[in-house]
């Protein structure tokens, strides 16, 4: 799990072009949107692309997005749950 979280942080930085951020700047449990990393709705689309491209995963229900993309941890949990 920790390995996946570290990998995800690097992938998010690359996908969202967060040039001035390092994996250390992204807190695993902090909200990605709003207060935390301050991402917006276009970033949400980028994260959907990331899941598809890097993990071959699709969100079945769009309304799940809010839970899945809450934090890096929730994204990692989603990926793990789909792997089983």
């Amino acid at each position: 799990m920790e390995e996946l979280i570290a990998k995800l942080k690097n992938e998010i930085i690359a996908q969202l072009n967060l040039e001035d951020k390092t994996p250390g700047d992204i807190q695993t449990d902090a909200p990605l949107f709003g207060d935390g990393l301050g991402l917006d709705s276009i970033d949400a689309l980028e994260l959907i692309v990331l899941l598809e491209k890097n993990y071959g995963l699709k969100l079945d229900k769009p309304e799940d997005g809010k839970t899945v993309f809450h934090s890096v941890r929730s994204m990692a949990e989603f990926i793990q749950s789909r792997k089983k």
Partner: protein, 401 residues
Amino acid sequence: MPNKIYITGLGIISAIGGNVEESLHALLESRTGVGKISILKTALSETHPAAEVKKTNKELVSLTNLPENKFYSRTMLLGLIAARQALTAARIEKLNEARTGFISATSVGGMDRTEVFYESFSKDNSRGHLHDIITHDCGESTEAIAAQLGINDFVDTISTACSSSANAIMLGAKMIKHGLLDRVIAGGTDALSKFTLNGFNSLMILDRQPCQPFDDKRRGLNMGEGAGYIVLESDKNPGFDQKEIFGELSGYANTNDAYHQTASSPDARGAIMAMTQAMEMAKLSPSQIDYINAHGTGTPNNDLTEETAINNIFGERIPPFSSTKAFTGHTLAAAGGIEAVISLLAMKHGFIFPNLRYETKMKEFEFSPVTELRKQMKLSHVLSNSFGFGGNNSSLLFSKA
């Protein structure tokens, strides 16, 4: 309802300067902004000079105090810088004390970001950042600037090629006159892009040397980039008495040649109608025009048509005229805004700025543009022309308030 429209603020950024003061200095010192392209990565940089704002997007972001890690189009950044200057000059601090509109012209919008997106996307269609592509629509730059300024009473984008800014200013004036808004920040912004450079190159109207508007040997235009906005207000607005008045927008007109997609009509019908109707609105006769800031792109077609129009209207009494595009390049949709600012500066300070690099009189006519800086002129009425593709012709008439 108000019937007089005053200009209370100016904002400008182009290759000759990042604000009104710098631009005025360059105009007084005959310092051109046309040179080698160094910021935009293009195959034409060695062969085609342009008037580029010598600041990277990162440097422009730092001038705006925007958060750094976001995506902004260059068009938006240039526009925000100039529009903010105009608001500050007009001493507008509280936006909610009057209905305020933002009408911005652009021809390429975020094309510069689209080109970044396309480079990755064309190799692999899962690549490219979506933030880059959403700036593609022209309206995005306007909305992003309006959001930063905090304007939401009325926000609109005008895209009618090279007459866009003049038409934005015209729409702003009409809305104030009809009682729909109290004040409007109007003008335009356009960044250099490969799209426009290559497009104009394909049309074979780019000059490979610094351009020579109205010269018999003129070869074409130099592209430019920048933004120019003016603040239009009625005198009923709060705090109007304390404001500096740069002039009155006494007349304007937009007409169409209905002749050709890109070329202007040889009989200059649209251009003649635009200037004539602007003067009619202001109830002025041609003999009262003290200076024309011409469209004067440097293309064989435009300059011949424009001189034909000037000759037709003014005949024996040709007023002093010059094109300032040899300074700023042709900034497309921003040109009308930038040249409105330049025209208002000319009127306010009594200057006529020279038509740089003019050498040889056009063989078709017996008159020439102003080639040396003229000072201490009494300019009461100044015409500013913006003629665009599609035969879309606009003239603005500014008068001393």
